[in-house]
């Protein structure tokens, strides 16, 4: 492990580091968020020229396209041809690593850089607010790590460091006006060494800060889902009321980095049924909502991907009608993942739970049969 402390403005320093990586030829390109022409949003740019990095926003105030998805599009057909740095939020990195397991990202040639993420603003409030003010407030958050108005899920995020990246950019626990560069992998070390960084900075302060914040976030998250959010959505009544806003556009699925399918099962022929089927169901229920299958879509999707859900919040940002999708999925996912103590993106060797099994496990989910019951009238 190589860990160094960099003095100076964190923002400029981070960009400077990326620029140096490009400039020193350690890599051939960088993927990094960048302001769009109108300046009102950000898009990922694949950059070759070091000078362009000056205008980049490695830590963007909003998540427009989930970075994991960007990397997937970039490498789905094969690994990058030039060594490329990808700057990702921790949740984007987790998604990318999950996609490696799913063969949707080819990691060869990629050098991942992630950072202590202060969270992101809801897309909608960012678009409607005063861009410059928000940007300023956001840059401030890199200092004290408090982002007022951040997305609710970001506020209870428990994987907010870039510890799974090749190179982690650490703000927490670093003295003001400085930050850490920490290489976690041989590739990361090589890249740092190429820039002349060596040594092993004492990270005790940082580890303590991360630990404390994690601990408080864990309890906040748990409390938020149990006390605040959970009761708002739990149960048939509340859940359906939550989905009354859903317009069935499936955009949550479209922007989801984990939903890598080319065609969603819930948009496939499987659900295209004849008119009499709709009528039959309508008769049973006293009516049938159109577009149909809202609940099936959401719960079905939870079964498909909640184990791999990285709680990035992209779905909620993309929902045109304010359904708290990301929180629903995070709440459910926290519980389904707990069954297998699985964490998406944690370990590339850790198989996705549905691919794995133990011969003796989960007996508590089976219904025991200890004694032949007497219900059966024609008992033998």
């Amino acid at each position: 492990m190589v860990a160094v402390k960099i003095e100076g403005n964190r923002w400029e320093g981070f960009k400077g580091f990326l620029r140096d990586l490009l400039g020193e030829g350690a890599v051939g390109a960088v993927v990094v968020p960048y302001p769009v022409p109108a300046g009102d949003s950000f898009a990922h740019l694949l950059v070759k020229e070091p000078s362009r990095v000056d205008h980049a926003w490695p830590v963007a105030p909003v998540m427009t396209v989930q970075g994991g998805r960007v990397v997937s599009r970039l490498t789905r057909k094969g690994p990058v041809e030039v060594p490329t740095v990808v700057v990702l939020r921790p949740c984007e990195l987790a998604a990318m690593r999950e996609l490696i397991k799913l063969n949707q990202v080819k990691p060869q040639g990629l050098l991942t850089v992630s950072f202590d993420c202060p969270g992101a603003y809801p897309l909608r409030s960012y678009l409607e607010g005063n861009g410059e003010e928000i940007k300023a407030a956001f840059l401030n958050a890199l200092k004290d790590f408090r982002l007022a108005g951040a997305r609710p899920l970001c506020q209870v995020c428990i994987r907010f460091t870039g510890a799974w990246a090749d190179i982690e950019v650490g703000f927490l626990g670093a003295p003001q006006g400085s930050f850490y560069l920490i290489a976690h992998t041989p590739q990361g070390e090589k890249a740092l060494e190429a820039l002349g960084y060596t040594g092993q900075e004492d990270l005790a302060e940082r580890e303590k800060a991360v630990e404390e914040l994690t601990a408080s976030r864990v309890s906040e998250r748990e409390a938020y889902f149990r006390e605040e959010f959970g009761p708002q959505v739990a149960g048939p009544e509340a859940l359906l009321a939550t989905f009354h806003n859903c317009i069935n556009c499936h955009n949550c699925m479209r922007v989801c980095p984990i939903c890598f399918c080319r065609e969603c099962f819930f948009e496939s022929n499987a659900l295209k049924v004849a008119p009499h089927n709709y009528l039959m169901r309508a008769r049973r229920k006293g009516g049938l909502r159109f577009m149909p299958d809202t609940l099936l879509f959401h719960t079905g999707r939870m079964n498909h991907m909640s184990l791999s859900c990285v709680s990035c919040g992209a779905c909620e940002d993309a929902c045109p009608n304010a359904v708290p999708v990301s929180r629903l999925f995070a709440m459910v996912g926290d519980r389904t993942r707990a069954i297998f103590q699985y964490e998406p993106g944690r370990d590339l060797e850790e198989p996705i739970p549905f691919l794995d099994y133990r011969e003796e496990e989960l007996q508590e989910w089976e219904e025991p049969y200890i004694q032949s019951t007497t219900h059966c009238p024609s008992s033998l």
């Binding site: 960048y34 599009r73 990058v80 295209k272 008119p275 159109f290």
Partner: protein, 360 residues
């Protein structure tokens, strides 16, 4: 002049009577999910008719698309009354031409449309609050405040192709007009006495003029805004490529969008070459290609229903732009989507002599 009748009580009870008196077996109509939230609902005879919301100014999904989903696999085998806004009927007609819907046994009840509120607005502001002002504006033949831009500039708010037209603009109480044999059949089945009368009020006709002017103005301002690559990027630059506009678009009926197919998964070399050429490259690629490409696929049939703009998480005025471009290309082919089933889709027909100016 047509056979008309005032609704005896309110529109909802007329619709219920269609079921009760056996005129139809099923009703397809917007219905309240909860306060201020509606969805289209398939209501069988024995179903619950509480909370019908035919006129609620809100469009969570294009009703034409909903009917298409209902009848995609084949015709319905029993009479169904479908309550639709004009743009929804036009969608339905287009989709029938594209073999995506089936009109058999459908009785189309077309609403004279005052426009609907944007999705966001409705959800955030609990839209019902505007209802009174909205109804007042319609009564006076005005454009209600705050409705979607494309609705404000819609001059096709008087339904075409309906069996029954519900006229509301300039009226205290909706009036029904029975325009087809099927429509009259409904009238007689529920025992409505009809008389001859105008389908639409003079206020409605006046509104038509206002809206036509709004339309012209909207089209030119939008075109000005997106002009050239610069303009295009100013507007579409923030597109996040979610393709939700195409997903909610009733005309984009494809099972798999071309732009999501493997065609647009690029080999690594594509990125390398482009990066070499330009020095930087937006990833994923094809943000603008998607919009322009989609335009070439569906602009001829775009009915400017506005769903795409509602569904855009980035607030891009997609519907306005597509309406503007759609207007141009539809004019080019003298085609109005949804006007009639006999009108052929522009790109599946041709005339031996046309567009001679393209050739030297």
């Amino acid at each position: 002049m047509a056979k008309t009748a005032e609704v005896p009580q309110d529109l909802e009870s007329f619709l219920v009577s269609l079921l009760d008196l056996g005129a139809v077996e099923v009703l397809f109509c917007p219905k309240f999910l909860s306060e201020g939230k509606v969805a289209h609902a398939l209501i069988p005879k024995e179903g619950s008719r509480k909370g019908l919301a035919p006129l609620f100014p809100f469009m969570p999904a294009n009703g034409g698309k909903a009917v298409s989903q209902f009848t995609l696999e084949g015709p319905v085998d029993r009479p169904v009354a479908v309550v639709l806004r004009p743009c929804e009927i036009r969608v339905l007609v287009e989709l029938v031409k594209l073999e995506q819907a089936n009109l058999d046994n459908l009785y189309i009840i077309g609403l004279e449309c005052g426009g609907v509120y944007p999705l966001e607005k409705m959800t955030r502001e609990k839209g019902a609050a505007h209802l009174e002002a909205y109804n007042q504006a319609l009564k006076e033949g005005q454009v209600p405040q705050g409705i979607r831009e494309v609705c404000g500039a819609c001059d096709l708010f008087q339904p075409m192709g309906a069996d029954v037209v519900v006229s509301v603009i300039g009226r205290d109480r909706p009036q029904l007009a029975f325009l087809t044999g099927k429509g009259l059949e409904l009238a007689s089945k529920v025992g409505l006495e009809t008389r001859r009368g105008e389908v639409f009020t003079s206020q409605s006709q006046a509104l038509l003029k206002t809206k036509a002017a709004n339309r012209a103005q909207l089209l030119s301002s939008v075109k000005e805004r997106v002009k050239g690559y610069q303009g295009l990027l100013e507007v579409f630059g923030k597109c996040i490529g979610c393709h939700n506009c195409s997903k909610v678009c009733p005309i984009c009926y494809c099972k798999d969008c071309f732009f999501e197919s493997a065609t647009f998964d690029y080999e690594p070399i594509s990125y390398t070459q482009r990066l070499e050429k330009k020095g930087a490259l937006r990833v994923p690629m094809d943000t603008i290609l998607f919009h322009l490409g989609r335009m070439t696929h569906m602009a001829t049939s775009c009915v400017a229903c506005g769903m795409c703009e509602d569904a855009c998480p980035m607030g891009i005025p997609v519907a306005q732009i597509f309406k503007a471009v759609g207007a141009d290309v539809q004019e080019l082919f003298e085609y109005l989507p949804g006007r009639g089933l006999q009108e052929e889709l522009p790109l599946t027909t041709y005339r031996p002599v046309e567009f001679t100016e393209l050739e030297e």
